[in-house]
């Protein structure tokens, strides 16, 4: 980087430095100059077209479901009026309209919970208590039926809270499962090892869609008469089992990175297997794999959208359902763009966080 080299010379003017930066990074050779010019043209073209579509020719509001204004600019400009009209439905699904503040509060609580979990200071045993407390409050907000809130059956839930519930519980329960399976896979007991290998390879070998189908159509077949649990819970179980298998592989990688001497010296101190594992091995193993764990969580967050295929009302399903309304049918691009932004916001924040962690790990302590 020529920029760094010149920082030690304060006499060089900013313009000169900028010019030399441009020269080194954009116009270093004929080929590079050509690439730069072509890219600048393409970016400018795309930006102008997007601006015209999204701002100049866009329709921001229409009176009372009258979409003529939107139809007249179709293909030229965006119809953001569809978002204005449907945003409550996209975010909260069919949750009773007057009670939707509860869903909104649940979303805020989820975000706070993620934020608290991301702060290094909170990485201690009490974090588990915070999680239990937060999830209880969220459950109370969503279901109600106690302490002055009216009862809302689970079938009415929808939108972003459902996505967050599926992702959060998938991680909260899949993670301990993954740790157990990872330990089992490295165990010296042949039967337990075989079972864990079978579980991990079977789940990782098939698509999540087939597991979700299994949860929605096969699960009821395997249950005794009269025993029925609702669809959301069944999908949640499938996601937990799925998450468990993938997280197990991440944790196993961490376990492999802990030198054997750690376990041996713990054994020499007379610690039992569970004490060795819980106090010596796991803390080191998990520290190694925090960045890939966050990446796995991002993957699940995105994968929860697959419940659309079995008809569970998460954010993406709500978005798709919002445009079934004939008046708004042809404006799905706008809705997908906005829903994409919501997903992106969550995933981008997590991936940034994971990268910072990785950078911090590589720094000498």
């Amino acid at each position: 980087m020529p920029l760094h080299a010149q920082e030690s010379q304060p006499t060089t003017s900013i313009i000169k430095r900028a010019l030399s930066w441009l020269r080194a990074n954009l116009f270093s050779s004929v080929a590079s100059t050509l690439v730069t010019l072509v890219l600048v043209y393409l970016i400018a073209y795309a930006a102008i077209s997007l601006f015209q579509w999204g701002v100049v020719h866009a329709v921001w509001a229409v009176p009372d479901n009258q979409t003529q204004a939107c139809r007249s600019v179709r293909g030229l400009g965006a119809c953001w009026a569809v978002i204005r009209e449907k945003y409550r439905f996209i975010l909260f699904g069919t949750y009773p309209y007057e009670e939707q503040w509860r869903s909104a509060l649940a979303i805020v609580l989820f975000v706070l919970l993620y934020w608290v979990s991301a702060v290094r200071w909170f990485w201690r045993a009490e974090l588990a208590l915070i999680w239990i407390a937060a999830l209880t409050v969220i459950g109370w907000l969503m279901w109600g039926g106690a302490l002055g809130l009216s009862y809302v059956p689970q079938e009415r839930w929808g939108g972003l809270p459902v996505t967050l519930i599926l992702a959060t519980f998938g991680l909260a329960l899949g993670f301990p499962l993954g740790i157990l399976v990872a330990l089992g896979r490295r165990s010296e007991l042949p039967a337990i090892k075989a079972l864990c290998v079978l579980y991990v390879e079977l789940i990782r070998g098939v698509p999540l869609v087939s597991l979700l189908f299994m949860a929605s159509v096969m699960f009821p077949l395997f249950m005794p008469d009269g025993f029925n649990i609702d669809k959301l819970l069944r999908a949640q179980i499938a996601i937990i089992l799925f998450a468990g298998a993938y997280l197990a592989e991440v944790v196993r990688a961490g376990l492999q990175a802990v030198p054997k001497g750690q376990s041996e010296s713990a054994q020499a101190l007379g610690l039992s297997y569970w004490k060795r594992t819980g106090l010596i091995i796991l803390p080191q193993a998990l520290r190694h794999v925090i960045p890939p764990l966050v990446n796995t969580f991002i993957a699940f967050f995105k994968d929860t959208s697959l419940v659309l295929i079995i008809g569970i009302f998460d954010l993406l399903t709500a978005a798709k359902a919002a445009i079934i309304d004939p008046a708004w049918q042809s404006f799905s691009i706008e809705v997908y763009v906005v829903v994409g932004m919501i997903y992106f916001l969550f995933c981008f924040a997590m991936s940034r966080y994971s990268r910072n962690l990785e950078a911090a790990q590589h720094q000498p302590r």
Binding site: N25, L202, G205, V206, S210, P224, I309, L316, S330
Partner: protein, 397 residues
């Protein structure tokens, strides 16, 4: 006495004691417990399933496969009509899965490699643009991207006002139409000749390399390559009087006929899978190239090799060792993700099996079939990539 003393010198064979403080006994105890629990669970689930199936009068087994399916499959590469059996319908589904997965893997590898290299470009704009591509595509759910592409394709003009991105190719709401060769059995012979030429060229290359190892002189093989790969098929072609007619898509009424038609569902799925997986492959390629130390580049340059030669002969072989294992799991992901086809109505194996399930009620069989197909594909890709990985692995003493 002597005998007793001798016995005490040897370590006593560890005998298991029935006690909770004995590790070996504990291990056996836990295994028995877990196996017992799992076996009990399986038996219980199985008994429930048998009972439920009896109540619903669903016959178990794969007998339904030979019944008439009656389901239309619009876009199939193997001959299929609704009058065919379920087995044939499922085979058409598998063919559709493979068709999108194989093409997707090839395209995603090419696109991903290009973007991965572009991210390391010295041109700042190029590097940043590739970084933005990777970041955006990776942080959006694939299903959302798939729906987006599908809606975008449906919003294209109708066949009569189709776009022509390149001469002869048409893009409309009926999908992508491409010109293609009119393939006859004579063409197969020409292809066979080309294949023969390719194999012969590889053999010659191997011999030339062996000779070069002995005396250090590089041999020229490209004249042989041209002769064998182009010349031989050309001779076969003219000898058999093969005509090279191109079938172009033409507008007839409201749709196209002739040429190669990629249905909107297939095109959308392929685009989504390719662009999404390419973002992950780009990161893998970038990490692989960065893993090769700078000294390798410099040493290559010191030997007088050109930059392209260093990349091809020195850096890439080393980078591939880092690239191949994670690349394998991306290929597996792409194949598994192709099951999202069911969301836009492309009839892959999951979609066909799902329709079968709804028509016959054979839930267990249908899902077993889906899982078997995917496990087989996953296993094949893993085996192939492991073989390739072993081939390019570092040969140590």
């Amino acid at each position: 006495m002597a005998v007793v003393q001798q016995a005490s010198v040897r370590p006593p064979p560890h005998r298991m004691r029935v006690s909770l403080s004995d590790e070996k006994f504990l291990g056996l105890f836990w295994q028995m417990l877990v196996i017992g629990a799992v076996a009990g669970l399986v038996i219980w689930l199985w008994a429930n399933a048998v009972h439920n199936l009896n109540v619903r009068r669903i016959a178990t087994g794969f007998g339904f496969l030979s019944r008439e399916a009656g389901m239309p499959i619009a876009d199939s590469w193997i001959a299929y009509t609704p009058k065919d059996t379920y087995l044939r319908a499922l085979m058409a589904g598998v063919a559709n899965t493979l068709r999108v997965a194989v093409v997707g893997i090839v395209l995603a590898t090419v696109l991903g490699t290009l973007i991965g290299i572009a991210r390391l470009s010295k041109n700042w704009l190029m590097a940043k643009l590739s970084a933005v591509y990777v970041e955006v595509l990776r942080d959006l759910p694939l299903l959302l991207q798939l729906l987006f592409w599908y809606v975008l394709l449906q919003g294209l003009p109708p066949a009569r006002q189709a776009w022509q991105p390149i001469g002869g190719a048409y893009l409309s709401n009926r999908g992508l139409m491409l010109p293609t060769l009119q393939f006859t059995s004579a063409h197969a012979w020409v292809l066979l000749a080309a294949l023969f030429g390719l194999v012969a060229t590889l053999l010659i290359r191997r011999m030339a390399l062996a000779r070069q190892m002995q005396d250090g002189r590089p041999r020229r093989i490209w004249p042989y390559a041209i002769l064998l790969i182009v010349g031989v098929p050309a001779v076969v072609s003219s000898a058999m009087g093969v005509t090279w007619a191109v079938s172009r898509p033409e507008l007839r009424g409201f749709n196209f006929s002739g040429g190669l038609a990629l249905a909107p569902e297939y095109f959308a799925l392929l685009t989504a899978l390719t662009t999404y997986t390419a973002a992950f492959i780009a990161e893998i390629v970038r990490a692989g190239i960065l893993a090769v130390s700078k000294g390798q580049w410099e040493a290559g340059a010191a030997l007088g090799l050109r930059r392209g030669q260093v990349l091809k002969k020195i850096v890439m072989p080393q980078a591939l060792r880092v690239i191949i294992p994670p690349l394998t799991s991306q290929y597996l992901n792409l194949t598994k993700n192709s099951s999202l086809a069911v969301a836009i109505g492309y009839q892959d194996i999951v979609s066909v099996a799902n329709t079968t399930l709804n028509q016959t009620g054979q839930a267990i069989e249908a899902i077993t079939l889906i899982m078997t197909v995917f496990l087989t594909i996953s296993l094949s890709i893993s085996l192939f990539m492991n073989w390739y990985n072993a081939r390019i692995a570092l040969v140590e003493r």
